[in-house]
Symmetry: C2
Subunit: 413 residues, 2 copies
């Protein structure tokens, strides 16, 4: 496993403010890793609303099943996340582990089991040693504090090389509210529902329905627009929590996502989600290049998305970028295999703002040296214009390097 | 570019017999490579029937467009294949190159342009230096001979590490007929229509319609059941030629693929196609393991195929196999992301005949040492039973290694 921080890691980590109604704690329960924290507990004040989007995998993990059921209640008091073991494909044992953990947390926090939310990330198929939680749960609850966000983000890392945090403020009515987010990513990342684990918290007084509506609207162009390897996890989870504490400072209570007063908040909310999802692309396993792919002129937005995904998930495109090779022929291949309306002779392709192919052939002004210089940069912008319609989409990915193979070739061992 | 022969290469290369009505020649035209042959010319006697399946890419190469149009005529006299340049995404220049080559070949062989079949493989997007053909075409025609199959297979290689040939005989009526095949593969291989370049030749007197029917029936479980990296080429071409020369030795003329007299021939035909397509998997770029994936108990054959493809194209499954890790958790992930009917708690998974997961959890008798020994073998058999229905499918692939990344990270340079 790599220990070096991704060269694409953000250079400055924001100071994460406290959010009224939220306290955090971490512990080293020894689930898999030695010498590091692997459990995060988040205490949420009574009245906290919750919303979420979960993996579309047909084989979801036990905690995903649990969250899906409990989201219906719309209320949350505790979030428990462990790293090192995904508690996925663990059959009855997995369900029992989830129930055991929820019971433990509910007892420690003094709330209902239906208000406990759980996530697990790490190895699939190995039973989760749930006894590990027993020794730490009470002290997690006792020690939880408001100023602990970076430590929280660290506790949920697996092959991530840096903790992922983001924060923003916005006016809701005349009151300033805060949005904090943490996430973990790395491998098994594909844009199909929420991507890996991400949690967003706010003191804004949003109902569960308003929060769910906002989440659904925002996730498509943020977390669902990131792919590392096209492999969708069985554990993908994005949860949003609103304590509502800002109501006491005059913030209006919002019950619908379409409420016009939510405009500034929605913008800040999207900013946090976009920031976290970009960090996931920046920490793709073995990534050395962040790749932004824009497809325009497609028959529809959905068509543009499918073509962008086909490019972003193509091993040949990704290895070419790793080799700093502006191999737009492979981009043509990826467009062609997507099966979407396309006309070879109308296709144009840009690398880093330089048009390399135009109307079905190499651009007449193609300059290998100029393009090569562009490919050496850590951030690669790739644009494809199809000339078929007005559909446009954008997706983030990273390159495919030998390090990806090395990391995933001996993850279990 | 790697120069070492794949460790999965077949250990014995068959002696390729001559086929009446077929002569071959190769040349070093200097299209891209130095010091090796890069053009294959095959002369076919008058009356040769042709059939073919071509890439479904929406951005096919110019030679693919040409072949698709000429297949309608059903007659072939010359096949010209070059390596080093795919003549794909080359716009008008590409179409002109194809026309120029066909004209040249028709003149040299004394036939119609509509009877010329062309393929190009190699770099996409670079203009094909078609003048190179001018110097070699006449001597190719003059020097063509019957006993030249291995050299023919060598001339069409790109990143292939060994030439791919296969042969079989069958009784047609009371007459023995021969089927020879050559192919090239390596990267950009996915099961969507014919995979890369493959040519099959016989002296059996089959009409173009009968040959086409047979080809369509056979390709699904041979070439379309192989994937290296999920990347479908813009040049995928599989052509079959029947000279009909065996008619003079008493073989019956066959006009329909459903003719019952074709049974033994169809079996031998499938054997040759299966053999060539397996060799393509054995020579996947950077491959160190040949992986056979069987999915059974799916809702339908199509569903089984989609799940098998999802597993075979998953970078996480492929890197795990490269790392000799029986990481069946990733197989569960790949089943789950396929979006096909599946029930986590009915799923069983085998590696090399050892059941590692059963009914939604690790097999109770799981023995890491036994499974690890299995994973060290060069050929890995992976079976998934879904318990949903009777759909079954089989697909061949290879592992994803650092060598794949290295080969594709600097292919152009």
């Amino acid at each position: 496993m790599t220990t070096q921080v991704s060269p694409l890691a953000p250079t400055d980590v924001p100071k994460m403010p406290e959010i009224e109604g939220i306290r955090l704690a971490t512990a080293a329960a020894g689930i898999k890793y030695a010498g590091r924290t692997d459990v995060l507990l988040t205490l949420l004040d009574p009245g906290t609303a919750v919303a979420g989007v979960l993996t579309r995998s047909k084989c979801p993990s036990a905690p995903v099943d649990w969250c899906r059921a409990k989201l219906k209640g719309g209320k949350a008091r505790v979030l428990v996340v462990n790293s090192g073991n995904a508690n996925a494909f663990t059959g009855k044992t997995g369900r029992a582990a989830v129930q055991f953990t929820a019971k433990l947390a509910a007892k420690a926090a003094g709330c209902k089991e239906a208000e406990i939310f759980l996530s697990s990330t790490g190895v699939i198929g190995e039973p989760l040693k749930v006894q590990a939680f027993e020794g730490v749960m009470d002290s997690l609850v006792a020690n939880a504090k408001g100023d602990y966000w970076l430590a929280a983000a660290k506790a949920i890392m697996t092959t991530d090389t840096f903790p992922k945090v983001a924060t923003a403020t916005a006016k809701l009515g005349k009151t300033t509210v805060t949005i904090n987010g943490i996430a973990k990513g790395a491998g098994m990342i594909a844009p199909d529902m929420a991507t890996m684990l991400a949690y967003v918290f706010t003191d804004a007084p949003l109902s569960a329905a308003a929060l769910q509506g906002l989440l659904k609207k925002t996730v498509d162009d943020t977390f669902n627009a990131v792919t590392i390897d096209g492999d969708t996890s069985t554990s993908d989870t994005l949860l949003a929590f609103a304590t509502g504490a800002a109501a006491t400072r005059g913030a209006p209570k919002i019950t619908r996502a379409s409420d016009p007063r939510l405009k500034a908040f929605a913008r800040a909310f999207e900013k946090v989600l976009a920031n976290l999802s970009e960090q996931i692309a920046r920490d793709g396993e073995g990534a050395r290049k962040l790749v932004e792919i824009v497809v325009e002129g497609a028959a529809s937005k959905a068509s543009a998305r499918r073509i962008a995904r086909s490019i972003a998930n193509s091993p040949l495109v990704k290895t070419a970028i790793a080799g700093e090779d502006a191999n737009w022929g492979r981009v043509v291949m990826a467009v062609g295999k997507a099966g979407e309306p396309a006309d070879r002779d109308k296709l144009s392709i840009w690398f880093g703002g330089i048009r390399v192919a135009h109307k079905g052939m190499r651009d007449p002004s193609y300059d290998e040296a100029k393009v090569s210089a562009e490919m050496k940069k850590p951030e690669i912008f790739l644009k494809v214009a199809l000339g078929m319609g007005k559909g446009r989409d954008r997706i983030l990915t990273c390159d495919l390097t030998k390090e990806y193979v090395a990391i995933n070739g001996d993850y279990r061992s």
